[in-house]
């Protein structure tokens, strides 16, 4: 709370000043006259070399050891430039005198490091381009200590002749010298290839290369070290640092196109293991620059990779291809990974797994992006994010692709290259405003580019942060394409009354004189702040600068340094702030203590469960049936329904499985084995079970079973018909005639005496209308004649119940204490609803309990007394906020539906708001594929790019539409406060993915209920992609009704996949959680606090 108030105060400080956070320093004043101008002609352009517009980099380091950070810029075609910092934002161009302009050729990235260990920073320049290999030899400018440099790349054996993007010097084997990773790319295009064959090829020019430093020279150990060097790599970004906190530096490489990114874990024996697929759910598709830093101040490094998704509706509509499921599957079948076109923020889960939450963080769309830098620019203790962007020509414009190119080609003369060149000249450059995101609490980011003074529109590539005037804040340097470089002075230090700066300079007497690769963590006021002292981050750029911490406190408690050579130092004494420290790697050394083992786990995973079959999905692709829907509704199984049939203190439970799977009732014995319950036989496996309910239908004191069936695709009389089994002395007898024939796609049945005549009736909620989403389905009220014979209620009597909505879950509770329970309903595109029985009818009394209409994609409800105040609160699970859907009350997502093309099926038109205006979600091709008459209205992409729903359809058609609306997607706790349900936020992690399963249990035996959740949805349309950031979630009740996330490495609960159900079970000794995962095996966890039960 205190922190929050201070933050607000701090923000007010900045908003109050007329001066923006950054001030642009004109080159006339700074003398930083540098433009990366690239020529274009028929033989030199984006078609002859596909990375023609990638631009140049920036290096910031103190080359003359005068305490001021100097700057070096790479230019692709013109000479590179070296500027010496003369103080007070004045620079002197000493390129010619220093001999650092580079050779003819195509220059790309720059890397700074003291390669020869003499205490002077050297410069390594990468070369690429469709040129002779000798023109591609990378250069190593050894600093002679007198502002002259000599290229000694060949001497050291690292004049790599590949198509290089960037290089990183780092000590991978902890021997106190800097080894070298050279990031390369192919200049040929591979769309048409045999993947398995290509992956086996070692390509010395396109493949990445790794060199070990042997003191006097380097030796290429690419293959021995386990580095992938196939021709498919299109490396655009690399960061080397310790990612898994084992003290050794790992590597993340971002790759353009179909080859996915690489994640190399350091094996501590001069080799790496690439393990992206096992630790990441999905990654950026056209990955560009990246940065790695601890964004959430938990001491673990997070990874942010860039892609090219634009923010505006207009540019998205001009860019998107229709979702192509075969193409995507083809990518997976060829051994490539899940990749989607957007920036990805991979949050480190501290246990060898990452959660991708780029959309939750609002960092996903920054258009053609190059450099990303994570740094605390406003000095509030949280790292912010800078992203540079822009592109030489708008070549992915779909109108260009489909129409303009061919039209122009027809009228052009000359060679093919000349014609292409002439076409290219007519394509506009993509000049964009760079993004600078402020981090608020909890990984939520907001773009502040214009407020903070970064509103210039241009094409920006490499960038660097460095404190150029030693005033303690981070100034920004950006290398632009065909435009003068940007120099932004940061004004934070001048106005900062919130935090104090701690400047740390790391040094070593070893050959790694800057101690590059070391990690510093500062502890203060129960917070920790971590920075990695690494030279290469962002895009084609490099910095060696002091580490700058901004601590919102008077002092810090301790400083921990994990040195690159494996040693560890700790300063335990209070360091008063502000402060500047120079620390050598021989100071404050401590022995590294082993990580204490966690002995306080809540859950422990049991052995495999041989009795339980693996759940299997049907192979249906729902998008082939209704191409405009957002997710596959046919992948929502399995489900578990538990009870104690024989009152022996041991759970029995029914497992709902899919079509063609044998279903059964099971029980759990005292050896924790799950075994089939003897009194149940299912002969017909055709049904698609969704849910079930155990209840006493015939008033004979035992529990009968009603099973709810339903499908999305291919509905027929078998797979949808619900079933009823009468319990006859412990044996379940199938009674098809006890219930009516129906063909509804059910979701949940709940038993209660709905007509108050003394027997148990059934309300069966329906989830959807098969193949006709989002038509509101009919739900069923089945009335009991007292003997277990059910018939449909008269629709005129129970009108309120018939078309409630797309129901997902139901619950009963006597909320008004009148002795009759209220029915609570959750569903998609609807608010939570409450129905009450009075005057012999059920009435919608939602308004009496909820003050605002919160319409969500609710999936599960759990009733729990969180604060032991003896009234039940509601946990309602929702879709979460980590997807492209981000509705608000003012800007909801909507679905307009009608059979517009009269093909007797509903056409669901989804809309959402982009920058304040409502637009359809579907791309032009997707919409006109469904509604072919619109092809005439939108003959091209530009015509559709700004179309809103009222421009697309006629008034008559608009009148035909029904509309559903959702304005809230957060999983929420509704706290019961004097008979009103008030929304109360849960920890942000609950919104990292759709929550589709919830269970309540007291995990720590403190008498307060804790929450177990599971979720993720993989089967979304391609553009939405897998939402897989959760691995199960444990929320511990702080005994006041507030919940704290227990991370996987502390809770013992960690599962991959789409968790669809969590069910608490018990035998006579213990309690368990049984987990049902879609298309996967069941998992059993023991609740450890019940050991002594």
């Amino acid at each position: 709370m205190k922190l929050g108030l201070l933050t607000v105060f701090f923000l007010m400080c900045f908003q109050g000043f007329s001066q923006a956070l950054f001030t642009k320093i004109p080159s006339d004043s700074s003398n930083l006259k540098f433009i990366n101008t690239i020529p274009e002609d028929p033989n030199l352009n984006i078609i002859t070399y596909e990375y023609y517009y990638n631009g140049g980099g920036v290096a910031a380091a103190d080359f003359n050891n005068d305490g001021l950070i100097d700057l070096y810029f790479t230019a692709n075609w013109l000479p590179n430039r070296l500027f010496i910092n003369k103080g007070n934002f004045k620079f002197e161009d000493i390129t010619i005198a220093s001999g650092t302009g580079g050779r003819p050729g195509w220059k790309t990235g720059v890397s700074v490091a003291d390669v020869n260990g003499d205490g002077w920073t050297d410069i390594y320049v990468c070369y690429s381009g469709d040129l002779d290999s000798n023109l591609r030899a990378n250069q190593l400018y050894i600093n002679n200590g007198n502002l002259t440099f000599t290229d000694q790349a060949a001497h050291y054996g690292i004049n790599d002749k590949g198509f290089s993007t960037q290089a990183v010097f780092f000590d991978f084997d902890q021997d106190n010298d800097l080894d070298l990773f050279v990031l390369n790319h192919n200049i040929k295009d591979f769309r048409n290839f045999d993947a398995a064959y290509m992956k086996k090829i070692y390509d010395p020019y396109a493949g990445d290369q790794f060199y070990e430093n042997l003191g006097t020279h380097f030796v290429n150990i690419t293959q021995q070290a386990g580095i992938i060097a196939n021709p498919l790599g299109y490396g655009l970004g690399i960061v080397a640092c310790d990612i898994n906190n084992d003290g050794w530096q790992d590597i993340y490489v971002s790759n353009d196109y179909v080859e996915q990114d690489y994640y190399y874990i350091n094996n501590h024996n001069k080799t790496f293991t690439e393990c992206l697929k096992s630790q990441f759910g999905h990654v950026s598709n056209f990955s560009m620059g990246l940065d790695i830093a601890d964004l959430n101040n938990d001491g673990w490094n997070d990874i942010l990779t860039l892609d090219m998704l634009p923010e505006s509706n207009h540019r998205q509509k001009l860019l998107y291809n229709p979702d192509n499921y075969e193409l995507y599957q083809n990518m997976l079948d060829n051994g490539f990974y899940h990749q989607l076109m957007r920036n990805m923020l991979h949050l480190n889960n501290k246990n060898g797994s990452f959660s991708e939450i780029g959309q939750f963080a609002n960092l996903e769309h920054t258009d053609w992006s190059w450099s990303v830098l994570m740094a605390d620019v406003n000095q509030d203790g949280f790292k912010d994010v800078f992203i540079s962007n822009g592109y030489g020509r708008d070549v992915t414009n779909k109108d260009f692709v489909k129409f303009y190119a061919n039209e122009r080609l027809k009228y052009l003369n000359g060679t093919l290259n000349e014609k292409y060149f002439q076409i290219l000249q007519t394509i506009q450059p993509v000049k964009l405003t760079n993004y600078i995101y402020q981090q608020n609490d909890n990984l939520k980011f907001k773009n502040k580019a214009s407020e903070w003074g970064l509103s210039d529109s241009t094409i920006s590539n490499g960038a660097a942060f460095a404190d150029l005037d030693n005033d303690g804040d981070l100034d920004l340097i950006v290398n632009n394409l065909n435009q003068e470089t940007f120099l932004y002075k940061n004004n934070a230090s001048k106005h900062n009354q919130y935090s104090r700066v701690l400047k740390i300079i790391l040094k070593s007497h070893s050959k790694n004189s800057d101690a590059l690769g070391s990690k510093v963590t500062v502890f203060a006021n129960n917070q920790q702040y971590t920075l990695d002292h690494i030279a290469v981050r962002g895009f084609q750029s490099s910095t060696i600068t002091p580490l700058l911490f901004y601590i919102p406190n008077q002092s810090c408690d301790s400083i921990h340094i994990q040195w690159a050579n494996g040693n560890m130092s700790k300063l335990y004494h209070h360091v008063m702030l502000p402060q500047s420290l120079t620390i050598y790697d021989t100071m404050y050394l401590v022995t590294r203590s082993p990580q204490p083992l966690n002995d306080k786990l809540y859950l422990s995973q049991s052995n495999t469960l041989p009795a339980l079959p693996k759940h299997q999905n049907s192979s249906t692709n729902d998008f082939k049936i209704q191409p405009l829907i957002h997710t596959m509704f046919s992948k929502s199984n399995p489900n578990i329904i538990s009870t104690d049939l024989n009152n022996d203190g041991i759970s029995e439970f029914y497992i709902c499985l899919g079509e063609h799977q044998t279903k059964h009732i099971y029980t759990i014995d005292n050896q924790q084995n799950i075994v089939p319950y003897k009194g149940f036989k299912e002969k017909n496996p055709d049904f698609n079970d969704v849910n079930a309910v155990f209840f006493d239908a015939d008033n004979d004191g035992d529990l009968d079973l009603y099973i709810v069936c339903g499908v999305y695709a291919n509905p027929n009389q078998f797979n949808q018909q619900d079933r009823f089994y009468e319990n006859s002395n412990g044996t379940f007898v199938y009674k098809p005639k006890a219930i009516p024939i129906e063909n509804l796609s059910g979701s949940k049945a709940i038993a209660y005496d709905f007509d108050q005549d003394g027997d148990e009736d059934l309300f069966v909620g329906s989830k959807l209308s098969p193949e006709n989403y989002p038509v509101i389905p009919e739900s069923l009220l089945l009335l009991n004649n007292g003997k277990g014979q059910f018939k449909k209620a008269d629709p005129n009597t129970f009108t309120e119940f018939r078309y409630i909505g797309m129901i997902e879950d139901l619950a009963l509770e006597d909320l008004n204490q009148d002795g009759i329970k209220e029915l609570i309903v959750a569903g998609q595109w609807m608010p939570l609803k409450i129905y009450s029985f009075s005057n012999k009818i059920w009435q919608d009394v939602t308004n009496q309990y909820f003050s605002t209409s919160i319409s969500g994609w609710w999936s599960k409800i759990a009733l729990v007394d969180i604060d032991n105040d003896h009234n039940l609160d509601i946990i309602a699970t929702n879709w979460g906020t980590n997807s492209l859907f981000k509705p608000t009350f003012k800007e909801p997502i909507r679905i307009y539906y009608a059979d517009i093309n009269k093909d007797s099926f509903m056409d669901p038109i989804y809309t959402q708001y982009f920058q304040g205006q409502e637009f359809p979600m579907a791309s032009k091709d997707e919409l006109t594929d469904q509604l072919s008459f619109l092809r005439q209205k939108f003959p091209n992409y530009t015509a559709y790019a700004d179309a809103q729903i009222q421009n697309i359809f006629t008034t008559a058609q608009l009148n035909e539409f029904k509309i559903l609306e959702t304005n809230f997607l957060e999983t929420t706790l509704f706290e019961n406060s004097h008979g009103k349900f008030l929304p109360k936020s849960l920890p942000p992690q609950v919104n990292y993915a759709p929550i589709t399963a919830v269970e309540i249990a007291d995990l720590n035996n403190d008498g307060f209920q804790d929450i177990i959740m599971g979720g993720n949805i993989d089967n979304n349309r391609i553009r939405i992609g897998k939402i897989d950031a959760l691995y199960g979630l444990i929320l511990i009740n702080d005994t006041k009704g507030n919940f704290v996330v227990s991370p996987a490495n502390e809770s013992g609960f960690f599962l991959k996949g789409n968790i669809k159900t969590l069910k608490k079970l018990y035998n006579k000794k213990q309690e368990f959680i049984l987990v049902g995962i879609n298309d996967d095996f069941f998992n059993l966890f023991t609740i450890l606090n019940t050991h002594d039960k």
Binding site: R191, E326, N406, P627, N901
Partner: protein, 432 residues
């Protein structure tokens, strides 16, 4: 340049500048302008065949509303055409030659995405008449067309095209012998339910049986492997003579060119458009009257449309793999066809079916021995080509797909049989 000169020469040599020939020339030009719009819009071969059929059909029906001519109606001979009373359509002051041209653009504007381009052409036509003081003639003709189209639009709407969206999108079948999306764009299969459309002549095209394709096999001695080998060898031989033939008949409405992040489509006419253009060439060369020209174009266009429906039925009945996919799996993982594989199943060859179907109709009109210069593809950088007979052109169009590496021989041969059967039935039905 030479191409254009030759082209000019041919047309001058065979045409006399009479009024009648101007009219046929106008018809040809209008059809060409509509073709250009279809090419611009990227129209699939099947969609193009439907467009041409309606455009040529309307032109024919409009021309035959002329009370002073012996009518060559087709409307009574095709499926479900609405009965309309000629008497309700006013033909006073109508210039029927002009009405035909107007009807073509108006029908095209009903069907094509870029209707604005067609409206622009019509506007400039109107202005010509207005400036020449012939407004009444223009508007009377246009009114006739409009009244006819109100009836005709309903007919178009009932062909089930608008309802195709209700069918599930295509899912490739599991197994090596079945069609899979092909590089470079891996486009989804085009129009898997096209065979649901109402044919023009044959009530049930499914009843025209075609021999099944050679079954998929990885046995080197199997007929299928032999067929693969044949495609493999032809393409690998890099025989320029054969490559030229493949190029000439490529008729790919959208070829994707990809160079890194830069990509764009280049376009050509569809095979149906090519054969309609051959029809135009022959009509002009033989100096046919406008009425005959319109009639023959309509029959050829409707035949092509039916042939495409039958082909698409066979394609999505067999779902056969393209040579590109099969050869990569069986023979050479790096193999590429000479042409880009079209995005739909292989069997039977559409080129073969529709070329032979059109050829049968054209031979029926012009005989077996007539030679002609085919300049259909000059706009797309291809030469003018002389064919000694209609049959020779059809044969070459069919075999070009083998040379292009995108069809097996059995799909070509059995396609020929199917195409010939279709048009023979049509000729019989219309008593032509």
């Amino acid at each position: 340049m030479t191409n254009k000169l030759i082209c000019f020469f041919i047309f001058n040599a065979i045409l006399f500048f009479t009024k009648a020939q101007n009219r046929t020339q106008d018809y040809a030009e209008s059809l060409k302008k509509i073709t250009d719009v279809m090419v611009y819009d990227v129209t699939s071969p099947v969609a193009a065949s439907r467009n041409y059929a309606y455009i040529c059909l309307v032109a024919n029906e409009i021309y035959n509303l002329n009370p002073n001519k012996t009518p060559h109606h087709l409307s009574r001979k095709i499926n479900n055409f609405p009965i309309y009373k000629r008497t309700i359509l006013s033909t006073d002051s109508v210039n029927f030659n002009l009405a035909v041209i107007i009807s073509m653009y108006k029908t095209a504007a009903l069907l094509l995405p870029s209707q604005e381009r067609l409206h622009n052409i019509l506007d400039s036509l109107k202005n010509k008449y207005v400036i020449a003081g012939k407004s009444q003639e223009f508007f009377a003709s246009q009114n006739l067309v409009d009244s006819f189209l109100t009836v005709f639009t309903e007919y178009v709407k009932s062909d089930r095209f608008q309802q195709l969206s209700k069918y599930p999108r295509y899912t490739p079948h599991y197994g090596a012998g079945y069609w899979k999306p092909t590089p470079p764009a891996y486009m989804a299969a085009i129009e898997p339910y096209w065979w649901q459309l109402r044919p023009f002549f044959n009530n049930n095209l499914k009843h025209i049986k075609t021999k099944p394709p050679a079954p998929y096999s990885n046995d080197k001695k199997s007929p299928f492997y032999q067929l693969c080998n044949e495609v493999f060898e032809v393409v690998n031989s890099k025989d320029t003579f054969k490559q030229n033939i493949a190029d000439f008949w490529d008729c790919n409405p959208y070829k994707m060119n990809q160079m890194g992040h830069v990509e764009f489509g280049t376009k050509k006419i569809t095979p149906g458009a090519h054969w309609l253009h051959i029809t135009t060439i022959l009509c002009l060369q033989q100096n046919l009257e406008l009425s005959q020209m319109i009639y023959i174009h309509a029959i050829v266009a409707l035949t092509l449309a039916d042939a495409f429906i039958a082909t698409w039925y066979e394609k999505y009945l067999t779902n056969r793999v393209r040579p590109e996919t099969a050869i990569r799996a069986l023979m050479d993982p790096h193999w590429k066809p000479y042409l880009q594989s079209p995005p739909f199943p292989e069997y039977v060859s559409g080129h073969s079916v529709i070329s032979h179907a059109a050829a049968i109709v054209l031979q029926h009109v012009f005989g077996d021995t007539i030679g002609f210069y085919d300049n259909s593809e000059t706009d797309y950088g291809l030469p003018i080509k002389y064919f000694s007979s209609i049959r020779a052109a059809a044969n070459e169009a069919a075999i070009s797909r083998l040379y292009g590496g995108i069809h097996f021989k059995d799909a070509i041969e059995n396609g020929r049989v199917l195409g010939q059967k279709i048009s023979k039935k049509i000729l019989k039905k219309i008593n032509f």
